[in-house]
């Protein structure tokens, strides 16, 4: 089986991007959207998530380990392997292939920083996760734009990743189904980007 390791790893990489990471991403953006309905609303929702039983186990199994695996193999896939050629072969899918790898790296940098600010700092006892913390972080213009780029990069990587997932698992075989899925994933990208960006604006500007 040893020589099948790559097949298994790449399939696992593809699966983890959607289940559980993609599902977690949508849940995370939706729960954060409570901020739009007011500070109390957000703190209640975040508090509920924080008080889930077995939280550390859930976080480790559903979030940390899958993201770690996806990220480590992803850096290899994004940086080491491709010889990008969008200059000579500027087809839509080739551009999306390139942007998928580019946003993967941006997303990794963003997530690392985000985990540092909202998880490591909490574990060190420096801050508490609540509306106030996010307001403090995002009131700086630099941080606001860093989060904007990070969130949009993440939502793009997820939405376009859904398209790749469907081909990798052989769900969309015909050119027609692949084309329609391109439009569907575009809608997914716009929809979840809206949810994320709306929340960031709320934290930063209170509107």
């Amino acid at each position: 089986m040893a020589e099948r390791q790559e097949f298994f790893n790449r399939r696992l990489h593809s699966l983890l991007g959607v289940v559980p990471i993609g599902i977690f991403l949508i849940q995370h953006l939706v729960v954060n959207h409570f901020a739009v309905y007011g500070e109390g609303s957000f703190n209640k929702a975040a508090g509920f998530m924080e008080d889930l039983p077995f939280r550390l186990v859930l976080e480790t199994v559903v979030i940390y380990l899958p993201i770690l695996f996806h990220a480590i193999l992803g850096v290899y896939i994004a940086i080491w392997i491709p010889k990008n050629n969008v200059g000579h072969y500027s087809f839509l899918r080739n551009w999306l292939f390139y942007i998928q790898r580019f946003t993967g790296i941006i997303t990794l940098i963003f997530i690392a920083w985000h985990v540092w600010q909202t998880r490591v700092q909490v574990a060190l006892g420096n801050v508490d996760v609540n509306y106030q913390l996010m307001q403090d972080i995002l009131s700086s213009t630099g941080m606001f734009w860093f989060y904007m780029i990070g969130v949009i990069s993440t939502t793009f990587h997820f939405a376009n990743g859904l398209w790749g997932f469907s081909v990798t698992w052989g769900i969309t075989q015909s050119p027609k189904s692949q084309k329609i899925l391109t439009y569907v994933t575009l809608v997914v990208f716009l929809a979840i980007s809206y949810i994320g960006v709306r929340t960031l604006i709320q934290f930063a500007y209170g509107v």
């Binding site: 390791q5 097949f7 399939r11 896939i77 491709p82 010889k83 072969y89 899918r93 075989q173």
Partner: protein, 254 residues
Amino acid sequence: MAEDKTVTFIITRQDSPDGTPYEETFNIPYRKNMNVISGLMEIQKNPVNANGEQTTPVHWEMNCLEEVCGACSMVINGTARQSCATLIDELEQPIRLAPMSTFPIVRDLIVDREQMFDALKQVKAWIPIDGTHDLGPGPRMPEKKRQWAYELSKCMTCGVCLEACPNVNDKSDFIGPAALSQARLFNAHPTGEMNKSERLEGLMEDGGITGCGNAQNCVQVCPKGIPLTTSIAAMNRATNIQAFKNFFGSDNAH
């Protein structure tokens, strides 16, 4: 004056497999309806570069001259294609010719495409019918299936899809689109189907199907119009199912 018209070629040359690449410019007289190969033949007749210096003729490969053999693939103005089917009138000048950099270079525009034949061996792209006695006629093939399978059989191993693929290079052992489509072709054949798991397992080996990153350049550049990305998705589905059959067990895992 039409008689004075010239065509300029800037050719990336290399004298030996481990030589250093260099560029050489040639001006050749224009003729009506020229293709890239007729330009190369002109250089061969009179190997004098744009500076008026005598040089060695440029080496390239060709055979059928009608886009069915796949021998004359090269990178023309940045894009890999068949030089026999590329007309001078349709190109921007100067015309830049380079060997397909995905493959080891033998000399000038000649590359060694052996890795494509190794890939066909990895996926067992043939139908084993030899035996000690007459096995009789095989099962019949549905006409509808024959029609799409015929499209896959047009592959001429020209290497253009591998050259255009961002994931086929010396840092990756990805098998490339051509062999993936051939595995699908032979698995579609009613006799070939009897050994389909052997081909799928070839695709599941390291450097098999998983190197595909879905940039889909292959299907855009294929000179034969083979639906390569459809084949890749089909083989993705088939290898996944085979992997589940292998792991959980199945009476249909042959």
